[in-house]
């Protein structure tokens, strides 16, 4: 066999193989094969709104993590941070898609042309005040310490949500959660390992980690008060009330900080999340402008 044939063989095999494809990069509908009927007794609008909350958290944090691409401290971190970003992007796509099947598209569906899938209509054609993510995931990434402390908080919280959602009465949410639990466990452990190294590393890394903890801790106040949607869906066996695992998350974070020789600031008093109500910091709009700009410039295009 000569090398020219080998080149073509390599390309040929590529058409049959599956293993090389990162999750979410395939050509198929990501919700294919999952029953997307809204379960009995569940309000579709509520379910869609809930999927937007969880989907927006993932989308916005994924975008923040992606800002590290080509700028990471080491190649291992380049790969690991991209991995977290890819996992969250995959979760976001499924959740926004689910919001679409629940009919929660609002204005975005009419702003986007028909050929644009629901996940993209929602990601690219909503205004900042239509996003439902917590403020925690939207604030500027800062240095590597801020990035790791934020990832630790966000993944510990999300892991608590997803662990419980595996038993959701919505088969789509339950499937997304079952897959996501493995991903989020890795994210949390990866971030925790770095918080340990930074907190208990050099004087400079300790200082930076402490600054990050002090800056991010107050945002924990937003995470544990159920919205009305969450309360109704929890009653219907579909969602979880985040108030139910506040203690658990607090213990996880406390354990990591102690081992990292970092002082835990006072645990903030829970309040309703402004982000879940569409009220955001000024940092979200530029993030979305960059994410959405090209797609909006060519509204009739298909990509």
């Amino acid at each position: 066999m000569n090398d020219t044939e080998t080149v073509y063989d390599a390309l040929d095999q590529a058409h049959g193989g599956e293993g090389q494809w990162a999750f979410g990069t395939g050509f198929d509908d990501p919700l294919a094969g999952v029953d997307t009927t809204v379960p009995d007794g569940v309000d579709a609008a509520d379910l869609g709104a809930y999927c937007l909350m969880l989907g927006d958290d993932a989308l916005v944090l994924s975008q923040r993590l992606t800002e590290w691409a080509t700028r990471s401290p080491e190649l291992e971190e380049e790969v690991a941070v991209a991995n977290c970003a890819l996992d969250l992007l995959g979760q976001a796509r499924l959740l926004l898609g689910r919001a679409g099947t629940c009919g929660v598209l609002g204005r975005s569906r009419s702003l986007a042309t028909e050929s644009i899938p629901d996940e993209d209509a929602l990601a690219y054609f909503r205004a900042p005040d239509e996003f439902r993510n917590h403020v925690l995931v939207e604030v500027d990434g800062g240095d590597f310490a801020q990035t790791m402390v934020r990832l630790l908080i966000a993944s510990a919280y999300r892991l608590a949500v997803f662990t419980r959602l595996r038993d959701s009465r919505d088969p789509v949410l339950s499937a997304i959660a079952a897959k996501g639990v493995h991903e989020l466990t890795y994210h949390r452990d990866y971030a925790a390992r770095w918080v340990l190294r930074l907190g208990d590393g050099t004087a400079e890394s300790h200082r930076r980690a402490a600054v990050a903890v002090d800056a991010l801790w107050p945002l924990l106040a937003d995470l544990f008060t159920a919205t009305e949607v969450e309360t109704r869906l929890t009653g219907a066996g579909v969602a979880v009330d985040p108030g139910g695992f506040e203690v658990e998350v607090r213990e996880v974070l406390g354990t990591v900080l102690t081992r990292a020789t970092l002082d835990a600031p006072e645990w903030p008093v829970a309040r309703p999340s402004p982000g879940r109500a569409g009220s955001h910091t000024p940092e979200l709009a530029p993030l979305l402008a960059e994410l959405q700009g090209l797609a909006r410039e060519h509204p009739a295009a298909t990509w």
Binding site: D3, T4, T6, V7, Y8, A10, L11, Q13, A14, Q20, W21, A22, G24, T25, F27, L59, Q63, T66, A69, T70, R71, S72, P73, E74, L75, E76, E77, E78, V79, A82, N83, A85, L86, L89, G90, A92, R93, L96, I116, P117, D120, Y124, F144, R197, L198, D200, G201, T202, E204, S205, E290, L291, G293, L294, A295, H298, A300, A301, T302, W303
Partner: protein
Amino acid sequence: MTAVADVRESDLQEYFDATIAHDRRIEPRDWMPEAYRKTLVRQIAQHAHSEIIGMQPEGDWLLAAPSLRRKAILLAKVQDEAGHGMYLYAAAETLGADRADLTDKLIERKQKYSSIFNYPTLTYADVGVIGWLVDGAAICNQVPLCRSSYGPYARAMIRVCKEESFHQRQGFELLMTMMRGTEGQQAMVQDAVDRWWWPSLMMFGPPDDDSPNSAQSMAWGIKRHSNDELRQRYVDMTVPQAAVLGVQLPDPELALDESTRRYRFGPIDWSEFKQVVSGHGPCNDERITRRRAARDDNAWVLEAATAYAAKHSA
């Protein structure tokens, strides 16, 4: 004095030559001539640097990718390139090199990377064209390296080539989608092809009669085919693909030679190539500046990891 140390260098050289002659692999612990080791380190390092710097032009579109699916594909690709860099630096380390030291040499411009990555990515079509043409050219260059005489390099190449073939497929699929899209998208694709075609031909290096190190590398089995031979294969592979895509390659002299069944193409502007290689391409400074910033701005992170490991190694 051990018996091993008494083995004469000429015997070792003979064994090495026989290994190469029989097309068997040299492994890290085998004796090898110093010049062979140096040439390999230089080539593998340059290749590793190309993978890492090559993340930047496409990485510039990650935050703005026009659909979530495209964002996922691009992020996975850029991540793959970081992985390729890691395998290759690891292969160089089997020859006694050190990754951090090689990175320093890159940043100090003492070692080169593929000059194709010194061109800017102006539109999203560039992402597709890089996948199709640049990853395509990389495949033509690298598939023969899967038979390189140095074992760790050959094995790294097998893994890398499989992933590059996915990148090429994904790039081509993006371009096909854009060519079925709006007129604006079609024009974007043609414009990107116009800008990347000639630089992609230059990826195979200078013509054979101006490639001083090639003969020795071929004799050592580090290189398997001449630059011009690989370039010709690339052209022969790509012209039919361009026809499927419905784009024009920007070379009026491009034509099938009926007698050889190979494509003739016009002269390459080697003065441009030399400009870019010598550091005067459109983005050379930007690429190195960013790599330097990644190293320097985050030095405290690695220092912390080292300090932590020292404290906790029982």
